[in-house]
Symmetry: C2
Subunit: 340 residues, 2 copies
DNA sequence: ACGCATCGTCGATACGCATCGATAATCACA
DNA sequence: TGTGATTATCGATGCGTATCGACGATGCGT
């Protein structure tokens, strides 16, 4: 492997000059720049990351802490991971995987050994046990998810409250007066991620404003449970029933149950789920969706941490960013009556 | 951040002694070891990864190249990623994410900058464009997937041929004489990953041995296509029809189509799919599965590369490892007749 | 033509650790 | 008690880059 010294020799300049050509931190004449760049090309020189980290005290690596809960919709987590990795490259950074299994000590490890300059935590719980450690780390950390006490932390997430409001508003506008909200599956609820309550609070808020009724019913992957929830909803509904199933897995089960009850989404029942546009279109009856915009959340998380790394002002920061959600009509919901 | 020099000072020894205590590469008296370890504790010392990499020429980081194809079952990819990351930790290594978007230059980048000591490539295609680059890199690389020409490469994958054989053997034993195999979805087939043909070859081999007939039919996510495939299968089948759908997405569509044709898996049709045990049990009718053992493949991939890193014999290696698949009976297939 | 500021480049040093050779301390054995 | 072999530790050096101070070269104004 060639070093910057080799490049310098080949170009007939000092090693420091090569360094300055690369960093641009001092003016370099067009002539020497050319010589150096040619030498770099010919030797296919690439700077050594370790040496660079040692000298500059920056690794240009961001640690990404990923959850692995079989019950969670892994496909969506993969979307976060993928977008985060690609976005990091745009800022000339790389992503180091840290699994949730390592817990809080894992965070201290990668930061303490200075393997990475900062961290992104996914799937942060309301009362996450890692928060004390996060606050004590002297590097930027961005949380995806909003803990109960976000003081002193930098957080970003989809605006679940807005999502809840949008769903209810939309169904109310379509003429529904009773709207049933299926909870996330128990495995998610038990994690105390507080997006669940934020979503529910949004539905309540909108319901109050619009004068419609919202039923909160148990979710899950158990067909029995969903069956009961649906039956209860039907019993308490006057007019056309409406369901909101923000959990991807729950909505799959819901679809089957509705079919077994002889109900057709878009005709004699309205359903809003959460799925990517591609997936929503693939359904037998295209699903109206509330888009929680994982890609946008991911991109912003990376931007935030890279900005913090750039700033390097050492002072503790605190911020909270909510990404607006988007609701999209498809065939699974009734159309709003004209002129209302 | 304390350095090993600080530790040395606190313990009243030389910096090199601290280093030897940590690495164990030279004998250290019990007394000094204790002093040094106490100092490490008190200062919460952690060695600097950059300096370590620079001095030892080893980063203890493995690059993992992940695919991102929306059509692919992202959930299963996430399982690979997660198990690989956790297993790497057992060998005291970390995982750096490299996205497929970076292509071959991405591999040269992470290796050239010496960000990682070796690579694991997922979802390797039969005629993967990155192979020439892989062969030219002077670091260990493990491929998950078998390219058409595996010479000079280290590969591991599930034994898809065995999987094909097992499925056919199993259905033949249950009394089926005509067995229909649905292809992977076109997006997968078009990638020329050759596990598709390995699987098909396995089914043919078993069919020939056992004297049963195997039909290869188009797969996909399009309900029309699967409908046609099913109808064709039914037309050509004498006795109870049997389907093998190795692609998770295809099998979902198949299930719906069979329902619409009034066929019940396990009663008047047999179905074998590929899914994790958990998922298989969750189906309305528990699905008989062929387990491709992603976790085991992942673990072995990590073991292989860590062994190669340990060996460090520089000489080019070549190996090919196939992980045995496991077939599991559940309610979706007929039971074999007694006494046969 | 002379002094002065600016530009472009060089040499030296530090970053934190691993590792090699050397040395002091200890021991076995004659 | 002296000699050689171990054992435990130290000091020095190198890994490849970033960065600081210094210095020669160049341009400007007068």
């Amino acid at each position: 492997m060639p070093t910057s010294k080799d490049v310098a020799q080949a170009a007939g300049v000092a090693q420091s000059t090569v360094s300055y050509v690369l960093s641009g931190k001092r003016p370099i004449s067009e002539k020497t720049r050319k010589k150096v760049e040619d030498a770099i090309q010919q030797l296919t020189y690439q700077p050594n990351a370790g040496a660079r980290a040692l000298a500059s005290r920056r690794t240009r690596v961001i640690g990404l802490v990923i959850p692995f809960i079989p019950e969670l919709h892994m496909a969506s987590i993969m979307e976060f991971v993928s977008v985060i990795a690609n976005t990091a490259r745009l800022y000339d950074h790389d992503i180091l995987l840290v699994t949730e299994d390592e817990g809080a000590p894992g965070l201290q490890r990668v930061v303490g050994q200075q393997i990475c300059d900062g961290l992104i935590l996914m799937q942060v719980e309301g009362d996450d046990e890692r928060l004390p450690v996060v606050r004590s780390l002297h590097v930027p950390v961005v949380l995806i998810g909003i803990p109960h006490d976000p003081s002193g932390l930098v957080c970003i997430d989809a605006d679940f409250e807005m999502a809840g409001e949008q769903c209810v508003q939309d169904l109310a506008a379509a003429g529904h007066t009773v709207i049933s909200v299926l909870d996330w599956q128990p495995e998610v609820v038990d994690r105390h991620v507080n997006y669940v309550e934020r979503f529910m609070s949004g539905t309540n808020k909108a319901a109050e404003t619009l004068g419609v009724k919202v039923l909160h019913l148990p979710g899950g992957t158990d067909r029995e449970v969903i069956g009961e929830s649906v039956d209860k909803a039907l019993a308490e509904t006057t007019g056309v029933p409406a369901f909101i199933a923000p959990d991807g897995t729950v909505q799959d089960v819901l679809r089957r149950v509705l079919t077994s009850r002889g109900l057709t989404p878009g005709t004699d029942v309205s359903v809003i789920g959460s799925a990517s546009p591609t997936l929503a279109e693939l359904q037998p009856i295209p699903l109206s969706t509330i888009d929680l915009r994982p890609a946008e959340v991911s991109r912003r998380a990376v931007k935030i941490i890279c900005d913090l790394l750039e700033a390097e002002n050492q002072g503790p920061t605190e911020s909270l960013e909510l990404v607006p959600t988007v609701i999209t009509h498809r065939a699974s919901t009734l159309r709003p009556p004209h002129g209302s």
